[in-house]
């Protein structure tokens, strides 16, 4: 069974540009989460999808961030326009609905805004 995959693994963009990160969850996992780790700090929750619906987007920093989950499968996180403080590692995780506990993480996308 394939794990959570994320693309790209690394992205370097200039301030003001747009970047789109993609996450493919484990097949059958209706829960999908986005997290972010800024250098040296804790991993912070961004938002949570259940299928295609946003269950909780309380962690989204501002309206420059837009997350979608088309058809309840893969998800994208777009940052437009990117700012320097958006640099960090963006993690995606998935889990089964009704199963409390383990979330399965992807390898992360390292975003560098210069």
């Amino acid at each position: 069974e394939a794990g959570v995959t994320q693309f790209p693994s690394h992205s370097v963009i200039e301030k003001g540009q747009t970047v789109t990160l993609r996450c493919d969850p484990i097949s059958g996992h209706d829960n999908l989460y986005w997290y972010r780790r800024v250098m040296g700090k804790e991993i912070k929750f961004l938002l949570h999808f259940v299928k295609e619906s946003k269950q909780d987007e309380s962690g989204m920093p501002n309206n420059r961030f837009l997350a979608e989950r088309t058809g309840g499968t893969y998800s994208t996180l777009k940052v437009q326009p990117a700012e320097l403080e958006d640099s960090g590692v963006y993690f995606c995780a998935s889990s089964q609905v009704g199963v409390w506990g383990e979330q399965y993480f992807g390898p992360g996308t390292r975003l560098t805004v210069t």
Binding site: G3, N31, Y33, Y35, G40, K41, E42, I43, K44, F45, H48, Q55, D56, G59, F91, A93, S95, W100, G101, E102, Q103, F105, G106, P107, G108
Partner: protein, 116 residues
């Protein structure tokens, strides 16, 4: 709001020895889970161990065990017989049970280096 604190940014241990990583948390909730996740240098984060708050018995997974002190809000991870493959960043995490979302709240992590 819940918070998770890991006070040891870096630790080092000799191969085959035992090491304990500290984690404290703050919450007013009574029903929750606690986790230790491990992120090796290859970056994929994996679950090491999980503890349900309602269980008094400490969780154990092979060489990994926890010391869960609910009243003190402490959740330390003990790694016995350390191996080189245990070198990783370790994150302590909290999850409230029963809310609309089961998001994880993480600490800042402890970088563990196992020395040969």
């Amino acid at each position: 709001a819940q918070t998770v604190t890991q006070s040891q940014p870096e630790m080092s241990v000799q191969e085959a020895e035992t090491v304990t990583l500290s984690c404290t948390y703050d919450t007013s909730e009574n029903n929750y889970y606690l986790f230790w996740y491990k992120q090796p240098p290859s970056r994929q984060m994996i679950l090491v161990i999980r503890q349900e708050a309602y269980k008094q018995q400490n969780a154990t997974e092979n060489r990994f065990s926890v010391n869960f002190q609910k009243a003190a809000k402490s959740f330390s991870l003990k790694i016995s017989d350390s191996q080189l493959g245990d070198t990783a960043m370790y994150f302590c995490a909290f999850m409230k049970v029963g809310g609309a979302t089961n998001k994880l709240i993480f600490g800042t992590g402890t970088l563990l280096a196992v020395q040969p």
